[in-house]
């Protein structure tokens, strides 16, 4: 009858299984495969996007498995935890054995175990002094450690190199544990979050994603952004983002410093990084072009993220963004990319009674085409509010030039008067309007362009449904600087573990433990010599070492005799 396994026995065998090599390989591969998921599935995105992408069924399946933030889920953590348990078990079982192995080096080898040696040579020699032979063996192995013993008339000489190799193994495996513990300390006692500080203001709270929700945490100090600036390369690409920050601790200014990407600020264990930037509520002045034919231009002052409302018409503007540079690809599809800066632009939502709300990006400057021709002011209009639905709307007139606005109205008035049936109605009306605006015989520069634009505006402007056309008149820009604040008390533990890992790997892979034995049996007719060797790594080189040793010993003493 098979013996029943007692519970402690079961635990013991389980403990050994957990630390076994095959489980280690399985765990590593499982961890690798599990990690893939999070790289294919974008993490921590908007839940609505996920829902749209996968449909309700898969969305809920993925969500309940935590796949949208999978590196924090219980099951991923369990794999890591299991890896730690396995490592601990493996170390627990092997380290004492290894330490003992490294300490005790028995010089003598039993005849039986010799047979299992991979590297083995037996040969006979006459008239050779055993001492001399051993001397020669020692000389050829500079830097090796020796041990010698005589047992039953047989002389054993053992040489060791790299006998601390097992320390490499111990270091590497405990390093992984240390790194994981460091990571755990960081996630348990550390934090990492973002704060946006507009120029001139201060902030003390960070926000961060917590699963599907946003968490907030108050810092023990305040951060004030004195200024933010962008530096450009001669090619126009951004070169440096720089924030000048002041730390305010309990109402006292304690530290003022510049930070850039790659050079964070360190205060009270918290690192402050430059991570992004955006508009921090720039002052915006709109020029409102009244579309009622009254030729009126008024101004409206507001700020980014604020709203402005016209009492009379009920038109409201909500400014959402402002950018001083707008580099756009001006090439037609299929052509070589051609980036151009279109100048400052403001983005706003336009609402009003009986109006379909729209999102508009209005540019301050008229569009000058590559030939240098003024194509008039323009804007991008999105009926859905989605960036992808922006359609360019060319307004015809160059609205930065008040004369054109005037000329347009004069032209409209003349058009109403002239005989519509006449062939030259447009021309006559335009000529009269010109005279009205500029006086007889005078004409603006680039007359032809102005005429073209005015004609175009007749169609375009009258098609717009809005009572007023808000264009960007003036601005004073204020940025906000996007900072990331992080504290990680486990970081140094991780670095310590990393150093252990690299050092351990080098010892493990590059300092193999090599053992050589020279065993001399005195026989009636001379000496029976055995050269035996063993290594745990890098057999290719050891093969050479071993064979060289044999040939050299053999040659030396054959010549001598």
């Amino acid at each position: 009858m098979p013996r029943m396994q007692t519970f402690p026995d079961l635990l013991k065998s389980l403990w050994q299984r957990i630390g076994s090599m095959s489980l280690a390989i399985i765990l590593l591969v499982v961890l690798a495969i599990a990690s893939v998921i999070g790289t294919v599935l974008l993490q921590n995105q908007n839940q609505a996007d996920y829902l749209q992408q996968f449909g309700p069924l898969w969305y809920w399946v993925f969500r309940s498995l935590g796949l949208f933030d999978m590196y924090q889920t219980w099951w991923f953590m369990s794999i890591l935890g299991f890896l730690m348990v396995s490592l601990t078990s493996c170390l627990w079982r092997n380290v004492p054995k290894m330490l003992k192995d490294m300490r005790t080096r028995k010089a003598a080898v039993a005849e039986k175990s010799l047979k299992h040696f991979k590297y083995l040579h037996d040969w006979q020699m006459q008239d050779v002094d055993a001492d001399q032979l051993q001397q020669s063996f020692r000389q050829r192995l500079q830097g090796w450690e020796f041990r010698q013993v005589e047992q039953d008339g047989v002389q054993y000489l053992r040489a060791d190199k790299g006998r601390w190799n097992k320390w490499g193994y111990i270091l590497v495996h405990s390093a992984i544990l240390v790194v994981l513990v460091g990571g755990w300390i960081g996630s348990e006692y550390g934090f990492r979050g973002n704060m946006a500080v507009p120029e001139g203001s201060s902030e003390h709270e960070i926000s961060f994603l917590q699963g599907t929700e946003t968490g907030h945490l108050s810092m023990p100090f305040e951060v004030r952004c004195n200024s933010f600036s962008i530096d450009f390369f001669p090619t126009g690409a951004p070169k440096e983002f720089l924030s000048n920050l002041t730390i305010i601790d309990h109402g006292k200014e304690v530290l003022t410093s510049d930070i850039i990407v790659n050079e964070p600020l360190y205060y009270k264990g918290v690192r402050i990084y430059q991570s992004s930037f955006g508009d921090g509520g720039s002052d915006i002045t709109f020029k409102m072009f009244h579309m009622d034919g009254s030729e009126t231009i008024t101004t409206a002052k507001t700020k980014v993220y604020q709203s402005w409302k016209d009492e009379k018409t009920g038109l409201s503007i909500k400014v959402t963004d402002f950018k001083p540079y707008n580099v756009e690809n001006m090439a037609n599809p299929g052509e070589v990319i051609d980036f151009q800066d279109l100048g400052p632009a403001v983005v706003y939502e336009l609402r009003g009674p009986d109006l379909k709300p729209v999102k508009i990006k209005a540019f301050m400057n008229p569009f000058i085409d590559p030939k240098g021709k003024n194509q008039g002011s323009f804007m991008m209009v999105s009926l859905t509010g989605d960036k992808a639905d922006y359609k360019p709307v060319s307004l015809g007139l160059d609205l930065t030039n008040p004369v054109e606005w005037k000329l347009f109205h004069a032209f409209m008035r003349q058009l109403a008067i002239v005989d519509k049936a006449s062939k030259d109605a447009n021309l006559t009306a335009f000529k009269t309007a010109m005279k009205e605006v500029f006086g007889a015989g005078k004409r603006p520069e680039r007359m032809q362009d102005v005429a073209m634009r005015t004609l175009q505006a007749v169609n375009m402007l009258s098609a717009l449904p809005w009572p007023m056309l808000p264009m960007l008149g003036d601005f004073e820009q204020h940025y906000y600087t996007g900072l990331q604040l992080a504290m990680d008390p486990g970081m140094n533990v991780v670095w310590f573990g990393s150093a252990m890992l690299v050092i351990g790997l080098c010892i493990m892979l590059y300092m193999p433990h090599r053992k050589l034995w020279l065993i001399i049996h005195p026989e009636s007719k001379g000496l029976h010599i055995t050269l035996a060797g063993m290594t745990n790594r890098n057999h290719l080189i050891f093969d050479q070492v071993f064979n060289d040793m044999f040939t050299q010993l053999d040659q030396d003493f054959r010549q001598n005799t």
Binding site: L28, V29, T39, L42, P234, V261
Partner: protein, 413 residues
């Protein structure tokens, strides 16, 4: 495959004993000197002009002092402990450093052929000299691959030696072209200048050179020439990809985005490619193993078998390459984490590139475990080395092309 015992006199003199030991320490000293300058020198480390800081009087002083100190210490140490003269480290590493010095000299010579400053424009970079050397390198590497394959069929002919020599030439051309490119990046504008490891095209050249160099080192030490056909074929495949990148305008020198402006880039990226390159060599050894296995299974009469290393040796060679690559890759990943801690606010963000680096690391970690445990040898591990490299390629290329994340500057634009 026995030790190369009968080597020419000159190389014995150069690479063994006193001279190698002295040079080794001088190089180490010079490197520490330059690192010291970057960390503690007045004016410290200037991101925009580090190349010229090294080449300036100040750099020469720091580096030279370091080299002299290294030499001095070497002399003292070796008098006290003569065993050091036989130090394997010096013998194995000095040739690499010598090769690097030769690349610097070559790059300095190439620099003489640059077009006049007035001819150099940022918009049209086609007249720069590095591009021509890279094209020469491309041709040479492909030629070398063809020669290595020809060698399999004609082992006695000179073609084998030709293959090795062209591979060396390719490494030196590629390395010196990269150094020249570093210099060229400053020719447009001092602000644009940066180390030539900032985009896919540049790191590809680095990868070819490192892969070929690691392979050549193994070839020299273990006479495993038959493996060259596989490794150099991998390199050639990469060369074609590089030519394609060039043809779609990815080879232009562009200014660095703010996130990349750090000394970490100069350490982290090359170290990573030591890992990738070694894994490529391991893949080559694995492929050679599988081919030999197939040939043996087919009856073992093929003449090719005579020049192939034995199965056991190929197995060991794949391991050897992984043993070079794995610590380098580990260190590179740790350096990347250190950089992330300084630039992104955390050493690990589970960014796709990071995660894939971890996956590669786990796969090769499992490879090393599988080797130590019994039963896993030979064919299975050869497949593992090949598959591991495919995963490495995905980590290197696929992540940039298909997945988004913080490493998006490696993207094709």
């Amino acid at each position: 495959m026995t030790a190369t015992i009968a080597e020419p006199e000159l190389s014995t003199l150069l690479y063994q004993g006193r001279w190698a030991w002295l040079r080794f320490n001088a190089y180490i000293g010079a490197m520490l000197g330059i690192a010291g300058m970057a960390m503690f020198g007045v004016g410290a480390y200037e991101e925009n002009a580090f190349l010229y800081q090294i080449l300036s009087m100040k750099g020469v002083m720091w580096g030279g002092t370091g080299a002299l100190a290294g030499c001095g210490l070497a002399v003292v140490a070796s008098t006290m402990k003569p065993v050091l003269l036989d130090a394997k480290m010096a013998r194995n590493i000095t040739p690499w450093l010598d090769g690097f010095v030769l690349m610097v000299i070559l790059a300095a010579i190439w620099a003489l052929f640059e077009p006049a400053q007035s001819q150099i424009t940022y918009e049209d970079q086609s007249n720069l000299f590095a591009g021509r050397i890279i094209m020469a390198m491309n041709v040479i590497f492909i030629f070398s691959a063809v020669s290595y394959i020809a060698y399999l069929f004609a082992p006695e002919s000179f073609i084998g030696r030709l293959a090795t020599w062209t591979a060396y030439t390719g490494v030196f051309l590629g390395g010196s072209a990269l150094l020249l490119r570093w210099h060229e990046s400053y020719l447009f504008d001092m602000e644009i200048g940066h180390a030539p490891v900032s985009n896919l095209y540049e790191v590809f050249i680095l990868l070819f050179c490192i892969t070929a160099a690691v392979y050549l080192a193994l070839e020299k030490r273990y006479e495993a020439k038959a493996m060259g056909a596989f490794v150099l074929s991998l390199v050639s495949a990469g060369v074609f990809f590089g030519i394609w990148l060039d043809s779609v305008g990815q080879s232009d020198i562009k200014p660095l985005v703010p996130a990349l402006q750090s000394y970490w880039m100069k350490i982290h990226v090359p170290m990573n490619f030591v890992g990738y390159g070694s894994f490529a060599v391991a893949c080559g050894a694995g492929m050679a193993y599988l081919v030999r296995h197939r040939l043996e299974a087919a009856g073992g009469t093929s003449k090719m078998l005579a020049i192939f290393p034995s199965l056991d040796q190929l197995d060991q060679l794949a391991y050897k390459a992984v043993a070079i690559g794995f610590p380098a890759f580990t260190l590179a990943t740790i350096l990347g984490a250190a950089w992330a801690a300084e630039a992104w606010g955390g050493y690990w963000s589970w960014d796709p590139k990071e995660t894939w680096a971890l996956i590669v690391w786990l796969i090769y970690g499992a490879y090393l475990h599988a080797r130590v445990s019994h039963g896993w040898h030979g064919k299975a591990l050869a497949w593992w080395a090949v598959a591991g490299f495919l995963i490495t390629v995905f980590c290197f290329l696929g992540v940039n092309m298909y997945l988004s994340g913080l490493h998006s500057y490696g993207r094709l634009s």
